[in-house]
């Protein structure tokens, strides 16, 4: 398949894996930020091609996983109302809130629809003027521009029966929260290629300097990830801490300027709670005051009550790279994709779900290796 097979070539993968092994002289711990990268690493077994000194940790970049229970509960409350058509990306439907999920709402007679784009939800609003159409706007900087465009168009066209339940999150503040933690093990990052396609990578440069940590903007195919690891290892071995761009076929330093302008117009930076991690200051996007009328939470006056996570779940530690899925006592026993206890098992891109799906035949790894090599966090 053109534009994909080139990035899955076995011979090149072996060459890159060999180059990584030759460059590595001591243990290094690298975190891939994005859930899409986690999924590719586990699906293609990329970590098994790496020398034993390299540990890959799986970061907080799965939008389904980090959407807080409160937002899911609000979504369920809004979708359950009789006058609502509730639209969402498919994989949010089976994510459990504290009581119920959107599939349950649908089976109880709620009008819950899977759409492929928020623009489709806007079209549903145009076609159903007597109904209120709500779109669940979750995700990172990647999905935010399309959601911003839907709200922008709704305002321009005066479509008053459309609103969005917003829970957007931003990558750099989450990376800073991890780096600033006393328990941090991460020595280098593979930054999320598609987030940087939108945002560029200038905002990662201060992070690399402040925490002396290499950050390599990386794509999602096996060869992208191997090359990203190689670039990161070279920096670590040479004592450099720079932002480098592996994903040059998609990412420019300044990002997608019109998309960034649209985000700045429609959204404003807000504090955001991350499921499994907690509230991180200035880590989310909410609707800017001129667009506040399109805020579904405000329009439908749903509660913002706090919901409790299952205490057995260690997904917060997994999202911060402190633990790996198979180190959890509930993994694969009490907690499975059909009956997830928490965030990282609910989405196919969650680290626990990926390990369950592709790796549960393996014996649990030994206790995590002690951190070696200081990065001056």
């Amino acid at each position: 398949m053109k534009y994909l097979d080139e990035y899955r070539d076995a011979a090149t993968a072996r060459t890159l894996a060999g180059a990584i092994a030759r460059a590595t002289t001591r243990p290094w711990t690298i975190m891939e930020v994005c859930g899409g990268q986690t999924h590719a690493i586990v699906r293609f077994g990329i970590d098994t091609l790496l020398p034993p000194e390299i540990t890959l940790l799986h970061g907080p970049g799965c939008p389904v996983c980090v959407t807080p229970l409160e937002i899911l509960d609000q979504a369920v409350a809004i979708a359950s109302r009789p006058d609502i058509i509730f639209c969402s990306f498919g994989d949010m439907l089976r994510v459990p809130g504290s009581q119920s999920d959107l599939f349950q709402v649908k089976s109880n007679g709620g009008d819950v629809r899977i759409v492929y784009s928020p623009i489709d939800a806007l079209q549903i609003a145009r076609e159903n003027p007597t109904k209120e159409v709500v779109f669940l706007a979750v995700g990172f900087e990647t999905t935010a521009p399309a959601n911003a465009m839907a709200v922008h168009r709704a305002k321009e066209e005066g479509i008053s029966n459309f609103s969005v339940l917003v829970s957007h999150v931003l990558v750099p503040p989450a990376m800073e929260a991890i780096l600033g933690s006393r328990k941090n093990r991460v020595q280098g990052f593979l930054a999320a290629g598609h987030v940087c396609t939108v945002m560029g990578y200038t905002e990662y440069e201060p992070l690399a300097r402040k925490y002396h940590v290499p950050i390599v903007v990386t794509g999602f195919e096996p060869l992208d990830i191997l090359q990203g690891v190689h670039m990161c290892v070279l920096q670590l071995e040479e004592g450099r801490a720079e932002v480098e761009n592996q994903y040059v076929r998609s990412v420019r330093r300044e990002g997608n300027v019109p998309a960034r302008a649209l985000l700045a117009e429609v959204f404003t930076v807000v504090p955001r709670k991350w499921r499994g991690i907690g509230e991180i200051p200035a880590s989310g996007l909410g609707l800017a005051p001129p667009y506040a009328a399109f805020d579904a939470a405000r329009r439908f006056q749903v509660d913002r009550t706090t919901a409790e996570e299952n205490p057995e779940c260690i997904s917060g530690l997994i999202l911060q790279g402190i633990r790996k899925p198979q180190e959890c006592s509930a993994f694969g026993t009490k907690c499975t994709p059909l009956h997830p206890l928490g965030a990282t098992m609910v989405s196919t891109e969650g680290a626990c779900a990926a390990y369950y799906k592709y790796r549960r035949h393996e014996t649990p790894p030994a206790a995590p290796a002690r951190r070696a090599g200081g990065t001056g966090a």
Binding site: P63, G90, D91, R94, Y116, L338
Partner: protein
């Protein structure tokens, strides 16, 4: 045999263009529907008496019996429709038992307001599929439900076939060392239906692979292949078939990812939608488990497109898994999807 191209929809559209509750009431309207829609298409001597059931001769061997219900939305999609699916689905279940399909029943649940021209199109498609598969629809039933209580048309078919081989075909017959042969490329049916349902446009048109499988299975048996197990790759696709057979046989399986044929346009659609081609539904694909020595004759018998995709390993005492060797030379598990496959956010 009637000439299907000469058939026109026999119920005047301007007079009675949609299904009414009365069509399921057992009176004159029901009779009208049967005599003008079903009988001309399914015409055969077992159905003709319109008795409460069909009376059939003994088939001359062990009998395979199966049933399946068809609720696909949309009713019509590229490469097939609910009618061809309802015939081939049941024919293929019989074929997977090693049987030669003989007779089908057809139960229709119609939603009030269904355009009769749509019913006519579905029934004619069933007629064509039945003739192509060499089966006869010998008994049937029609019910009508209130508007809003169905999805246009639901069809249940049950089927009877005769088993003319002495082989016992099923997971318990699978042996370590068997090879797994697939009869063609996977994923087209699921993508075709999803594209139609969701209004997705791809550069090339992906049509369902909906087809009867009794022919290729009978060809394997006639060629003297010692078939140990057969499974069609419908819901859950290749993934569900392999995981279920592995568990049923209590033996681990190993698949070479690169050996499984997936068309480029299907792979592309799966990449865009975040779906796993191995888990996408098919309606004309199956796997055969055969002794390694017969791998090549089995593949040749199944014709162009057939491939050997993996093998059965010896029991190890560990839990039974299906392992996939990836193109990169690494190994991963093949696992049942948790529920419906859902398109991902990003």
């Amino acid at each position: 045999m009637i000439d299907e191209f000469a058939l026109q929809c026999p119920i005047p559209l301007d007079n009675n263009p949609t299904i009414q509750m009365g069509h399921g009431g057992g009176g004159r309207m029901t009779r009208d529907l049967i005599e003008r829609i079903f009988l001309p298409v399914f015409a055969n001597e077992e159905l003709a008496p319109l008795h409460d059931g069909a009376i059939l001769p003994p088939p001359g061997g062990r009998v395979a019996f199966t049933t399946d219900s068809f609720v696909v939305r949309p009713m019509f999609f590229r490469g097939g429709d609910v009618g061809s699916l309802a015939v081939n689905g049941t024919v293929n279940d019989l074929a997977m038992c090693g049987a030669r399909p003989l007779y089908l029943s057809a139960g229709f649940i119609l939603e009030e307001g269904l355009p009769i021209k749509d019913l006519w199109r579905v029934v004619r498609s069933m007629g064509s599929a039945a003739r192509a598969a060499g089966v006869r629809v010998v008994t049937g039933d029609t019910k009508v439900v209130d508007k809003g209580h169905g999805d246009g048309i639901f069809i249940n078919t049950a089927g009877v076939g005769v088993i003319e081989t002495n082989l016992t075909i099923g997971p318990p017959s699978v042996r370590a060392g068997d090879v797994i042969v697939i009869n063609g490329d996977i994923g087209r049916h699921g993508i075709a239906v999803m594209a139609e349902r969701e209004g997705l446009q791809f550069e090339s048109e992906i049509a369902s692979d909906c087809a009867p499988l009794a022919g290729p299975v009978q060809a394997l048996l006639r060629a003297g292949i010692e078939v140990h197990c057969l499974r069609d790759l419908t819901r859950g696709g290749l993934t569900s078939a392999l995981v279920e057979i592995g568990e049923g046989a209590h033996l681990p399986l190993r698949i070479q990812e690169e050996a499984v044929p997936v068309r480029d346009d299907v792979r592309g659609a799966c990449e865009i939608l975040g779906l796993e081609p191995f888990s996408v539904a098919n309606e004309g694909r199956f796997v055969a488990f055969v002794p390694a020595a017969q791998a090549e004759p089995a593949r040749v018998t199944l014709g162009e497109g057939a491939r050997v995709i993996g093998s059965v390993e010896a029991a190890t005492g560990e839990p039974v898994f299906v392992r996939v060797e990836t193109a990169l030379g690494t190994t991963r598990l093949l696992d049942l999807p948790s529920g419906e496959q859902l398109p991902r956010i990003c």
